[in-house]
């Protein structure tokens, strides 16, 4: 009998060695849909996630080693950039758009406010090469990384050898970003039967379902589509949204519908960060703020009519989407143990 349990232990140990490194760090509740990201092409491992986390926080990705991904995607702001309407970049340059929050990326079909990027793996190429962001090239990033003491070891741990390529850099960044799952807000706890909404939150939830959920669809609170939400054009930017990518007039001023999760951490709002407060956002939709463009989202062809109380209740509900466990999860934060010694 003892011999049998010894054999079972040995077999288990062998099996765990065979699958060394491959892990199930990616966890999502059962009420979330299927992911868009194909994990078979980039299986998550502890070592791959750690490498990606180091790269995410390392300014080596920028031309003068001054700007990291985290410069505009702070973990304490649900990986957005609070207080800045437009992204900041190298040499104190200012970008065109508000840095979006980063979470639940495995469910996104496209990336950037205009959907310019078609895959999470390729997203980092845009800020790395953008002159007003990191102003670097992926080829040079690879060369710089090869010259460090730290990274060949991290690549060896993650990939089995110390070869450093653009593909591996990008996939490691994806690995870390895929672990940024926000699914532990009060809303989620209610879904799991671990908490209950207050009366006010329930009232706000009803308002939300009537007026907001067509675009900000549960449980991700975005339908991942592009919409014209009737914002007047900021003539200092002249940002025409998705039309820049497709060259179609019908895509003029279409921007990706953002998730409503973690709103307390991700202000200011909208693609150009024009609204600092949730009240201002709601006012845009309810108080004649919508410009009647020909391609306006059909849900916004007329103002949303809700009472003052309903507005307050709606905000109360939206705040149940704040996910403090996610925001303060140390596994997502600066990898002090690696980068401080670098």
């Amino acid at each position: 009998m003892r011999m049998r349990s010894w054999i079972i232990s040995a077999v288990s140990l062998f099996a765990s060695l065979v699958f060394l490194g491959e892990i199930s760090r990616f966890e999502a509740p059962d009420y979330f849909p299927e992911t868009e990201y194909d994990f078979n092409k980039n299986p998550l491992t502890e070592e791959g996630i750690l490498l990606g986390r180091a790269l995410f926080y390392d300014p080596i990705l920028s031309r003068d080693n001054s700007i990291s991904c985290a410069s505009c995607h702070s973990p304490y702001n649900a990986f957005a950039h609070t207080d800045h309407d437009l992204s900041h970049g190298i040499d104190d340059s200012i970008g065109l758009r508000n840095a979006p929050a980063l979470f639940n990326l495995a469910w996104q079909k496209s990336f950037m406010h205009d959907g310019a990027v078609n895959h999470l793996d390729m997203q980092a190429l845009a800020p790395i090469s953008e002159p007003s962001e990191m102003d670097e090239s992926i080829a040079n990033v690879v060369q710089k990384i090869k010259g460090t003491e730290l990274y060949p070891k991290l690549f060896k741990d993650a990939y089995g050898d110390d070869e450093i390529t653009g593909e591996r850099v990008l996939k490691a960044l994806s690995q870390f970003q895929l672990t940024l799952v926000s699914a532990t807000s009060k809303y989620d706890k209610v879904q799991k039967g671990e908490a209950e909404f207050t009366e006010q939150e329930l009232s706000g939830y009803a308002v939300f379902k009537t007026h907001c959920s067509a675009c900000h669809t549960e449980p991700l609170f975005t339908n991942n589509e592009f919409k014209n939400n009737g914002l007047p054009v900021d003539t200092t930017l002249n940002d025409w949204g998705r039309m820049r990518i497709t060259n179609k007039a019908s895509d003029s001023l279409l921007f990706k519908v953002p998730s409503l999760r973690n709103l307390s951490f991700t202000y200011p709002y909208m693609h150009d960060g024009r609204f600092r407060k949730l009240n201002q956002v709601i006012k845009h939709y309810t108080d004649n703020g919508i410009v009647e463009y020909s391609n306006i989202s059909k849900e916004l062809k007329s103002n949303i009519e809700i009472s003052g109380k309903e507005k307050v209740d709606l905000i109360a509900f939206l705040l149940t989407l704040d996910d403090k466990e996610f925001v303060f999860n140390k596994e997502h934060h600066f990898p002090r143990e690696i980068l401080m010694d670098k």
Partner: protein, 228 residues
């Protein structure tokens, strides 16, 4: 006796274990009837100025060899980056059955749409190769850059970056060339013909997928021929 031995030897050779052979594929860019050289001024005899090519780099994918409508062999590497800075990238072999008699060869100029939406990839598709657009996803299928005396662009530079994988302006092109009776495929493409149809004096910047880039992709696809 000698005849019998010769006969037996022929039979052995016919049924020899070597059932495959290499079929050589090479791409040969030519300008003014000579193999193209980078950084070399090609001057017009009419005195209209010179053209100097600095970068020529493009993807050839999915090379297949056919006998009529039967697939004989396909390249084991699906996507190849042909780069004038790496001349070896213009020549390779495909293994074909020894006794096959191919009639034609097909390939794709560029990278197919499925590959374009499949995330980070290695080898010739690694984004470090400088053939991936960063402001908008997608591979650049074909890059040709240089200077022409009569080009009105800044510092007389012309830049043709052809790409895009979606919709009517997708930049991939399927090409079929006859190779009947040939033991190798020497695929020429004439830059004279290209510049005859796309003069840098009139069109000198293409850096995004649109109707113009799509038309130029058609022109590029039309200049590939089998060397006689």
């Amino acid at each position: 006796m000698i005849n019998v031995l010769f006969f037996l030897l022929s039979i052995v050779q016919y049924f020899s274990f070597e059932k495959e052979k290499d079929f050589e594929v090479s791409f040969i860019p030519v300008f003014q009837e000579k193999s193209l050289e980078l950084e070399n001024p090609y001057c017009n005899t009419k005195g209209e100025g010179c053209i100097n090519i600095e970068i020529l780099r493009f993807y050839i994918s999915d090379v297949k060899i056919w006998k009529e409508d039967v697939l004989v062999a396909k390249d084991e590497i699906t996507h190849r980056l042909l780069d004038m800075d790496n001349p070896a990238s213009f020549n390779w072999d495909i293994i074909i059955p020894k006794r096959s008699k191919p009639t034609h060869l097909t390939f794709t100029l560029g990278v197919d749409s499925l590959t374009n939406v499949s995330g980070a990839q290695g080898g010739d598709l690694d984004p470090t190769k400088g053939m991936y657009w960063t402001w908008k996803s997608g591979y650049v299928n074909f890059k040709l850059e240089g200077k022409a005396d009569d080009c009105p662009g800044r510092k007389n530079k012309f830049i043709y970056h052809l790409g895009g994988y979606q919709g009517p302006n997708a930049g991939c092109r399927e090409i079929q060339l006859p190779i009947e009776g040939k033991c190798k495929a020497e695929i020429q493409f004439s830059l004279d013909e290209f510049f005859g149809k796309v003069p840098p004096s009139k069109l000198y910047h293409i850096m995004s997928p649109n109707t113009v880039s799509s038309s130029v992709a058609d022109i590029v696809a039309s200049i590939f021929t089998i060397k006689e």
